[in-house]
């Protein structure tokens, strides 16, 4: 393997340069707004489609396409036969491409309401959402629904892609009208940035190249923005948290606790506590990537060995002894119901939160959310694709955190014990009887301030200033300015 060794040495420099951060992007919007077309065209413009795939596309465009003789870029994404036959997107498609500046994973999600759960799945993993609007139709109920879900699942950056501008005479007035309309809806959703871009996705206007047909627009092209947006997640609270996935016990000499670090970092010699038992020990070994290390941090898959053996099982959490969260058996949460059968308050579901699993009952529906107005309305259950604020009673103590503070311990799914179907996804708003304010409350200007504040984890003085500025402009409906202000404030972090 002499060649391999030489190759490895030679490669180190170039590989490191390419081993850059990755942006996970979601496209969403109403049916026929052109999501798949936009992504397909973006892949085409970034030379991400191979010649043999292009010739297959040409053949399929003639057979299934909706663009006459022209290429139907949507067919690059709609990978299931049923999708090609019906000309719609049913399931999430993941596409991968890279430019010289960044690599991207894009989830192309369905617009139809019945497939909202697939859209939510894509949103849970995204750093940025491209929300498409048809310039002729403007902001629709489904646009508002998607914006709401995206925000609820913690996506902090949005692009308002106003598509099919050619069918609206490339009108700046029409574009501004839609931006204002969306700004009013989204002002209460707490996005950190919203960048509106006028497009003709089919022809590539303002995707990778600036449109000559809309010279009044002087913002970035979509690709420019995707390549440069700062999507660094806010710094999370520091205490070390490791949800245990499994106990490795290859022989009698070694017992290791394996999992992905949810928060903070760990170092050999640290004092830790196992939750919910409360037993304490000291870290003897930290193993990541197949070797012993001195330390490991959030996002890394680790194995920890302790100096004194204590009883720990899958679903327990290893935490910094100095800063351990308290176990709870009650969660205040926002649920998205995903099953054909409505939520039943008398039924026991399995709650999966990280590697923890417990029996769970939805004891209270505080309210459902009207996705068109974002107002609360009374409800006793949740039907498919409905969102509501609920209380969940769990049959044993679990370690959970507010989703805003911690993604890994603030997200969960509910599974029906009989059918094994995943029936709901949820985010934790608060734990125990003292629930924190939920993001689904009806929003007035004070709530806007709260939403803006709670998406940012900056120093309190700066926070107050950015919050006030955001409220002032946000209520006026010019969210573009808000995003600009927030970007400026956030940038130096």
């Amino acid at each position: 393997m002499a060649t391999l060794e030489a190759a490895r040495a030679h490669l180190t420099a170039s590989t490191l340069a390419q081993d850059s951060a990755q942006l996970r992007v979601l496209t969403c919007g109403s049916v026929d707004d052109g999501k798949s077309t936009l992504l397909g065209r973006l892949l085409f413009d970034t030379h991400s489609i191979a010649d043999d795939q292009l010739s297959a596309l040409d053949r399929e465009s003639r057979r299934w396409g909706t663009q006459g003789e022209a290429m139907d870029y949507a067919l690059l994404l709609d990978g299931l036969s049923a999708e090609r036959e019906q000309g719609i997107t049913i399931d999430v498609a993941y596409r991968y491409f890279s430019t010289a500046r960044r690599s991207f994973i894009v989830a192309d999600t369905p617009g139809h309401e019945q497939y909202t759960r697939n859209m939510a799945t894509g949103a849970s993993q995204a750093d940025l959402a491209i929300i498409l609007v048809d310039a002729r139709k403007g902001v629709l109920a489904q646009t508002r629904r998607h914006a709401f879900i995206v925000a609820t699942l913690g996506v902090r950056h949005a692009v308002l892609a106003v598509n099919k501008m050619d069918l609206a005479d490339f009108s700046q007035a029409r574009f501004d009208e839609i931006v204002t309309e969306f700004g009013q809806a989204a002002s209460m959703l707490g996005f950190q940035s919203i960048v509106p871009i006028p497009l003709v996705a089919r022809d590539g206007d303002n995707l990778a190249t600036r449109s000559a047909r809309m010279e009044w627009y002087n913002g970035p092209t979509l690709l420019d923005h995707l390549e440069t947006v700062d999507a660094t997640p806010p710094a999370e609270a520091a205490g070390f948290l490791l949800p245990i996935q499994l106990v490795l016990r290859p022989d009698s000499d070694f017992r290791g606790y394996a999992g992905t670090v949810a928060q903070g970092s760990v170092r050999v010699g640290d004092a830790v506590v196992a939750l919910p038992s409360g037993r304490k020990s000291t870290v003897a070994r930290v193993i990541t990537s197949g070797r012993d290390q001195a330390t490991a941090g959030a996002g890394e898959a680790v194995t920890i060995a302790l100096s004194g053996e204590i009883d720990i099982a899958r679903g327990d959490v290893l935490a910094s002894a100095a800063d351990a969260p308290r176990p709870t058996s009650r969660l205040e949460a926002t649920l998205l119901w995903m099953d054909d059968d409505a939520m039943s308050p008398t039924r026991d579901y399995a709650l999966l939160l990280g590697p923890a699993s417990a029996g769970a009952r939805v004891s209270t529906v505080r309210h459902a959310v009207d996705i068109e107005t974002y107002r609360e309305r009374e409800a006793s259950t949740l039907w498919m694709n409905e969102i509501g604020a609920v209380s969940i009673e769990v049959d044993r103590a679990v370690i959970a955190a507010s989703y805003r503070e911690n993604r890994a311990l603030g997200a969960f799914i509910l599974v029906d014990r009989a059918s094994n179907r995943t029936v709901a996804l949820g985010v934790v708003d608060g734990i125990g009887p003292e629930a924190a304010t939920t993001p689904t409350r009806r929003l007035d200007s004070r709530a806007v301030a709260h939403a803006v504040l709670s998406t940012l984890t900056l120093g309190s003085v700066t926070l107050m200033m950015s919050g006030d500025a955001a409220v002032a402009v946000g209520v006026a409906g010019a969210n573009v300015v808000v995003s600009a202000i927030l970007n400026r404030i956030v940038a130096p972090r």
Partner: protein, 300 residues
């Protein structure tokens, strides 16, 4: 907070998936098909369970038509400490004389690969099987879950697949159901090669250019790996410097002309290529939706 790089993030994600399987399934197995994706998968698995040995066996479904260099490489991997390699051949298919030349690619793949795989999974009672498939390979794979639920009889129903928000996988299943699990779902061909270079993972020499005996057939360069490949009238064997981008049964896998003999050269060539990785795989081109059809029948 330290930001993980692209490869670090992908590695951690894959290890997390493998650990979920071992923690929640009773009898997992890793499908080992010898190529670059399998090599990466095996390397990640060793890291995931270090310092212990692999907590599951490797399974190779041998169609009896793999390149000889692949089989040599496989047997070497199988002899490494802590590795339990199972090899399964569909003996019914052998008895019936099924092969790519005698039966055509579609029947050969169905009998020797899909049926062979199902026989092996049933024989050992595996309830979860890791595969190295990536979503960037093919567009029905782009819709695949990380945990792909297979019904009794191993059939894949795209409409019954479960949503997978965050990294939360619902691994519950009824008796008779099983999972195909794809830890490399979010990796691209470029990620795989970059990772191979970074980690120094050994690869089958077929990925590197060398003078090899090839025959031009149906627009592909087929390497004549043994004399079971009979020459058709007008055909001749040429010695050309070729390599393979993707490995399968030798009569169904096209070579590409190349001078790339080192990893950096292979990576540079891949980045500059204008054709897709699977363009050299005959079974992908049995009609639009053919991969989806094969998956429904129980293929990976």
């Amino acid at each position: 907070m330290k930001m993980l790089s692209r490869l670090e993030r992908l590695e951690a994600e894959s290890i997390h998936i493998m650990r979920e399987v071992v923690a929640t399934c009773e009898n997992p197995v890793m499908l080992y098909s010898i190529g670059k994706d399998s090599g990466v998968l095996l390397h990640l698995a060793r890291k995931a369970f270090y310092p212990g040995p692999l907590p599951f066996p490797l399974l190779h479904v041998d169609t009896t038509w793999k390149f000889r260099e692949m089989i040599e490489f496989r047997d070497k991997v199988g002899r490494e400490p802590g590795t339990n390699l199972l090899v399964h051949i569909n003996q019914d298919g052998v008895r019936d004389g099924v092969g790519p030349f005698a039966s055509g690619s579609r029947v050969h793949t169905d009998v020797m690969k899909t049926q062979g795989l199902k026989q092996a999974l049933d024989k050992y009672g595996f309830d979860a099987a890791f595969g190295g498939a990536r979503r960037d390979e093919e567009k029905s794979r782009a819709k695949e879950r990380v945990f792909s639920l297979r019904e009794t009889g191993h059939r894949w129903d795209p409409r019954r697949q479960r949503p997978e928000p965050w990294a939360l996988f619902n691994t519950r299943k009824a008796k008779g159901e099983s999972f195909r699990v794809f830890p490399l779902s979010n990796w691209t061909e470029a990620d795989v090669w970059d990772y191979i270079a970074r980690e120094g993972i050994p690869m089958v020499p077929l990925y590197f250019a060398k003078e090899r005996p090839v025959v031009r057939r149906d627009g592909m360069l087929i390497m004549r790996d043994d004399d079971r490949m009979e020459l058709l009238p007008g055909e001749q064997v040429e010695m050309l410097s070729v390599r393979f981008r993707s490995l399968g049964c030798y009569p169904l896998t096209g070579a590409v002309e190349s001078e790339a003999t080192t990893l950096p050269e292979v990576i540079a060539e891949m980045r500059g290529s204008t054709v897709s990785e699977r363009s050299t795989r005959a079974i992908d081109h049995d009609g639009t939706g053919s991969m989806e059809q094969k998956k429904m029948e129980g293929y990976f």
